[in-house]
Amino acid sequence: MKFSENWLKEFINPDASSEQIVERLSLLGLEVDSVEPAAPLFSGVVVGEVLSFEDHPNADKLTLCQIDVGQDEPIAIICGAPNIRHQNLKVAVATVGAVLPGDFKIKKAKLRGIESNGMICSSRELGLSDDHDGIMHLPADAVVGTDFRNYYDLDDQIVDIDLTPNRGDCASLKGVARDLAAFYGVEVCTPKIEAVESTIKDQITIDVKNPEACPRYLGRVIKNINPKATTPLWLSEKLRRSGLRSIHPVVDVLNFVMMELGQPMHAFDVAKLTGDIIVRAAKSGEKIKVLDEREITLNDTTLVIADEKEAIAIAGMMGSLDSSVTLNTTDIFLESAFFAPLGLGSFAVNARKYQMFTDAAFRYERGVDYELPKVAMERATQILLDIVGGEAGPVVTAEDHNYLPKPVTIELTQNKVTEILGLEISCDEITRILKRLGMTVVASSDAEWKVIVPSFRSDITIPVDLIEEVIRIHGFDHLPMVKPNLKVDLPKTSEASLEHDFFKQQMVGRGFTEMMSYSFVDPKDQQLLDPKQAAIKLSNPISQDMSVMRTNLWPGLLKAAQYNLNRQVERLRLFEMGTCFNQDASGEIIESFRIAGLIIGELDPKQWGEKSRKADFYDIKADVEALIAPVGRLKDISYSDQNLHPSLHPGQSASLMDGDEVIGWIGALHPAKAKALQLKQQAFLFEILVPAISCSKITHLKVLSKFPSVSRDIAILVDETVKIAEIRKEITEIAGKLLISVQVFDIYRGEGIPSDQKSVALGLIFQSFEKTLNDEDVDKPMAKILESLKERVNATLRT
């Protein structure tokens, strides 16, 4: 909420500097977002009067004016704005030597052969608004020659405070002043508001159908207002500094009262109403065209103000376009009401639904003082009669005390204050603070009180609310610091479970850079990179390319790859850990924590000592094994060509299997996917479900044999289609317990080998727990192995 500091000072003027007041507002919980001057710096601008005007002899669109600026002689100024052409018009004149915002110096100038001695200003040129529809028209009573800054009271600041949702009571100058006054211990000067006697009998009957939503509704007719009246400068400037545009004198006065006291009000054009005012629930599907020209379809939990024909306002939010006051309006009906935040459905929910972020809705959502409508009605009438004239009818009140809020009484003890704050505040201080905030404090016994909360503090309902008030005014800076008594137990941790950080450490140690991407991705990318999963859609995404929840981590990785490849990076090793979101057949959401990596380009960074080589499947497989091996489950996990991921190259990818369960995928990005992503380099990817590899087992040492081992190397010829895993499996199954290890140390194709075959060199190590093995001991299992390999995979020993 924005307001003028000078306006605030009309209510309260403590012995404190502007800076101190601004800081105090923040420290009272009314956080100051910004403080800006009421107008940018300029000088040499005075009030002038148009004495005469004539066409510029050499230009169609220019006017040559004689302007009285309070000097001995009028000065000649050429003006380009058409709205200058009014005899005796008061204007803002930048005289020769003036400096306007943006360090724009005004000099004598010749325009099409005629001298001009200054400039007549628009409000935009003075930094007062964005309005550029010609020059400013100043009120007729402006005194010629007065310095414009003084005339406009521009040595002022605009303070913008960020009101928390509980502080509806501070959505007015009076409310802000009340809080400051409680701190400084001074009085708030409120304007004297007296009931305005009615001079006519005109009135409109008010029929409240839903008193639970509108326990109090005040109406008043004012007839014969002057349609030509204008908003006085003092008022329009206060509104401008509150961030409100001057619209119509009647609307401006109501906005002024809202800013001053906190009561939102509305005015209808009586000529456009039919019959009584009816406050009722909207009919489901009922339509209303509101002031901002939107047509809103209402639901039946919305309260509307209606006449006998149709809805004329959404209660507390916005009036209809048709019933609004215009420049032709002569008779008005004023509304000042208390709408309950939860009377009929939820006011806030409906306001959000209809996108009604109006000043009135802002206040009603937070709760308006139910005792305020009467005061505000009189205040508004008083000012309206001054500005637009007319005759006021009697105030018609419709209220139902059954639904009006009752004053809240809270029991508070000093003990409770001390317990919550950890600071003993004296009983005197507690009562003083609460009283200054408008509470009625009655001591019920020693250090115990009954506190009656004023009608403007609907946020205060329980003792801790009062304690917050006490410390807010007392000041958190006076709260001591007491070391909390944090007894520490030894943590219950499992040695076998691996922290997420462990996997990150592992990846970083292997040269991977950790990245983080948004959890919502482009549905196109997600479909491309996980086509079998139906991604969860956001109903209100921030943009289309962030509209579905990721089902795997590859869209983020590949997007980051593209980003970097487009920025002269040729080699990438990236990984990410994060939650992915899937749904099962019944629509149940499954969140899974995953780790995924990507490599593109050379295996090693560009360097002097190694021959460069493109990374391939087996390089990323080594990275995956480095993640799995420390879990002690490397042997449990197999690489299968079943259940392949559709986004990977079918011939160069595998699924990671833990028994029958797929726990991850690894391989080259499918060329079709790469093409769709316009990725020119081959990417290798993996993704693993982290829980599947997080649970290790505690190692139990296997006893070591004290006898020497014997190793045998063999090379066998097999068909290309035979997998190494099959050979290993065959060997380990047939060899017996003496075989302790099988290593593949070479794969050879080429000269001397038939084209559809490969030579596989294997190193076998045998060892016994009972004795030193001799050749014969090893020959036997070796023969069995070769025989079995011959039989099962048609292997022949290479000699």
């Binding site: 950890g422 008594n485 520490v488």
Partner: protein, 389 residues
């Protein structure tokens, strides 16, 4: 060296007074002090030791002097062998001197024999020293020829880097973990109950518009705060409780200080005797430890539906341009009694305090990152700047 020098001079002078042969003195000293021969050569001249008139001793002295001169001259291992043969070999000159002993009187013989043997030892020692020196020189030469450029970079894979948010999370978790806060995590897709209702934020509450929420459908949403996990934590465990809940949260907001996804860490203590003064002390210590400095910190009253009283915490921060400003770094407060009621904890028996930290914001301050969105651009030139952990 100077001490040894004085000591030897003294020794030499004493011996000389006892009328010992100069060479006897020298040889004895060599054996005593293991000093190189040239040391004595110098002192032979400077100390002017009287020679004794024994012709064999003279010969030996000459041989020593000659051998010494020759040893100085030579520069190959072969030459050393030649000299060894010449002086110490079976047909060497000192062996010849031994053969001369027979010509001496019985009284002179032992003394002369001793002198020859001492001379042999002396020369053998010198030859050895020379050999070792030459071998050392040869090794040095070889080592120098193998010299490499140690400024060339190491081979193979380079180290990767951790995302700055991983680092910040790790730091915060380790600080709070040290005083017994347990890490608890929960789902990111939540329902209205955990995200709002249980946190004293019913649908009509104006605080709901404080965060613009991403919805999946009528009830399911992306959590706007990790306070949801506190609700789960309090439902699952009995007080006293001390937990931190780091994780991703989502709000519909995007500019240079807001991203639609960011990382929060909330802390919660539920115990019988918590109060705001303790909360203030804890957060004060936390911020000072985190930034490793003494910060100016202020608590400013604020509003959160799930705490009362509530405050925001600002730190005084020196900006890059040198100006000083208050920056909001966290929110906190005493747990609202309605929150306790919704998780079946008796608010008359227990009290609690909670605080929420934006990890992204802390990372921005700590690592001087000007734009929050850089954290999620995944530019490797940005990410690779964070290798530490």
């Amino acid at each position: 060296m100077s001490l040894a020098y004085c000591f030897i001079c003294d020794h030499l002078t004493q011996k000389q007074n006892k009328s010992q042969s100069f060479y006897e003195v020298i040889i004895e000293s060599i054996l005593l002090f293991h000093l190189p021969l040239y040391f004595y050569t110098i002192h032979f001249n400077t100390l002017n030791i009287q020679n004794i008139g024994n012709s064999m001793s003279d010969t030996i002295a000459q041989l020593i002097s000659q051998a010494e001169a020759e040893i100085l001259e030579i520069n190959s291992l072969d030459d050393i062998e030649q000299l060894r043969l010449k002086y110490l070999g079976k047909k060497g000159v000192l062996t010849a001197q031994l053969q001369q002993l027979g010509k001496l009187s019985a009284a002179e013989r032992p003394k002369a024999g001793q002198a020859v043997n001492q001379a042999k030892q002396l020369i053998a020692g010198q030859l050895n020293d020379k050999r070792e020196a030459m071998q050392q020189a040869e090794l040095d030469k070889k080592l120098m020829s193998e010299k490499i450029d140690v400024t060339l970079p190491g081979r193979g894979q380079e180290l990767g880097s951790f995302h700055p948010l991983t680092q910040m999370r790790k730091r915060v978790v380790s600080l709070l973990g040290a005083v017994g806060f347990q890490v608890v995590e929960g789902p990111e897709i939540e329902d209205e109950y955990h995200n709002f209702d249980a946190l004293n934020t019913p649908a009509h509450h104006p605080a709901r518009s404080m965060h613009d929420t991403f919805y999946i459908d009528a009830d399911r949403l992306l959590r706007t705060q990790t306070s949801t996990v506190q609700i789960r934590g309090m439902l699952a465990n009995k007080p006293p409780l001390r937990m931190i809940t780091p994780g991703r949260v989502y709000r519909r907001d995007s500019d240079h200080t807001h991203t639609p996804m960011f990382h929060q860490l909330e802390g919660l203590v539920v115990d019988k005797h918590c109060n705001f003064a303790e909360l203030k002390s804890l957060l004060h210590d936390f911020l000072n430890r985190l930034f490793e400095t003494d910060l100016n910190i202020r608590f400013r009253p604020s509003f959160f539906p799930f705490t009362e009283p509530s405050a925001e915490v600002d730190i005084e921060w020196k900006k890059a341009d040198g100006s000083v400003t208050w920056l909001e770094v966290l929110g906190c407060g005493m747990v609202h009694p309605n929150v306790f009621k919704s998780v079946n904890i008796d608010p008359d028996e227990y009290r609690g305090f909670a605080f929420g930290i934006g990890l992204d914001r802390l990372a921005m301050l700590r690592y001087q990152i000007p734009d929050l969105r850089m954290l999620f651009d995944n530019d490797v030139k940005f990410l690779e700047q964070f290798p530490e952990y």
